[in-house]
Symmetry: C2
Subunit: 227 residues, 2 copies
DNA sequence: CCGGCTCTTTGCGCTGGGGCAAACTCTGGG
DNA sequence: CCCAGAGTTTGCCCCAGCGCAAAGAGCCGG
């Protein structure tokens, strides 16, 4: 099963078996936490089922979602590579979720014995870094509507479900706001606008993308925002 | 000389010699570019002298500075680890600068033969990733004045010069604006405010921090912004 | 089928900070 | 020493988006 994890592509079957032996399953129900920001990074996780969001909370209590994790993806690994490190973010379950937890020391040992695996991890990290740099730029330079469009397009690609009408996403306005770095009010207004223009359908904790192409154009800034 | 590069801490003297042999020096004068965003990542660089900023430019021509590089630091390496990758940002010299350029393929070969080095690189990358995540959160949640304070404090630590009066930095208002994700007007207003409050001295492309502690408090949000 | 809870919508007012324009001030080159 | 050009300051206006408040809508358990 763990073979499907792209981070373990270069792990030998034996190493995977070791991981299974050394790791242990951890189930967390909706809204529960796998770990908290600034806790010592004791384990890295592979998500097996469900959905997890990585968040940072400001001293004032405001939440920012850094990314959402889908099945067969690694999380908590950034903290785990460094022996003395703490988690840079908290991991909260968006749905009931199940993950395989590997002690950081075992994880590091595995990486040390398998340079190909370490290289994979480096690639993953640099990819994520590229994404963060881009999103940072977007945050600085783009208008909210465009940012929300980007978020929706990105989420659709990662976690969208194909249904007859289009692509379905299950996120509340609040969720989207935390990802796009805005407020639920603004998200609500923007989504309403899109619905009026016939680009999407909305519902409680749900939206359906009818015209992915138009949304992508909005995200790219090549389509002017609502009148 | 290259021994001082923290990225090469685990390189053997012989490997360093190989790097010197395989690499070549590249001088770029002020405002010149080492490479551009989206170009194929042909070389990784180690800065030997000068200062370089990594920037992304939006289609509309707006600039965002991702980070500034000081001597003995690696840049362009994120692009170099992946054989098919392009640079995620442009590298522009803030002053006349000199760097040692290593072909990406040589760089990768070195990493493959020396897992300790690869591990160092991974640590550097994850550290930078942590920083980007933090700055992303700051960008989303914090007010401009606080963000500018953070930028100034951070730059003071990396590139500040001790002088009798305090810590001196050499950046134009425009530079600071691009780093803090705001406009030169706002930076100018905020700096003027700080000067009136006696926290800093300002000058053309220059500022002197008189009370680092007060600025740090501003950056942390524990000191209220200007009245 | 009801009641309550959570999520969503929308009107309204407000403000942080963006951006133009014009004046001012360094600084280095001739 | 003076001038031109680059960097800076500040007044002024404007608006995108925030956030309250109150009403509406969907969902679930009993």
């Amino acid at each position: 099963m763990l073979q499907r994890v792209e981070a373990l592509r270069h792990a030998s079957p034996e190493e995977v078996r070791t991981l299974v032996r050394l790791g242990l399953p951890r189930a967390v129900e909706e809204d529960g936490f796998f770990f908290f920001q600034d806790d010592p990074a004791e384990r890295a996780y592979i998500l097996l089922a469900g959905r997890v969001k990585m968040i940072q909370v400001t001293p004032a209590g405001q939440q920012v979602t850094l990314r959402t994790i889908g099945p067969y993806r690694l999380f908590g690994a950034i903290g785990a590579v460094n022996p003395t490190a703490t988690y840079p973010a908290s991991a909260q379950a968006l749905q009931d979720s199940l993950a395989w937890g590997i002690a950081s020391s075992d994880f590091r040992r595995l990486l040390q014995n398998n340079p190909a695996l370490l290289l994979d991890l480096t690639h993953m990290t640099t990819d994520y870094l590229r994404e963060m740099q881009e999103r940072y730029r977007e945050m600085v330079t783009e208008q909210v509507e465009q940012r929300i469009a980007r978020v929706v397009v990105r989420l659709a690609g990662q976690l969208g479900r194909r249904i007859p009408e289009g692509i379905e996403l299950t996120f509340s306005r609040q969720d989207l706001a935390e990802i796009a770095g805005t407020t639920l009010y603004t998200v609500s207004r923007v989504l309403s606008g899109w619905e009026k223009r016939g680009l999407i359908l909305t519902g409680r904790e749900r939206l359906v993308i009818l015209h992915p192409h138009a949304l992508a154009q909005l995200a790219a800034g090549s389509l002017p925002p609502a009148p």
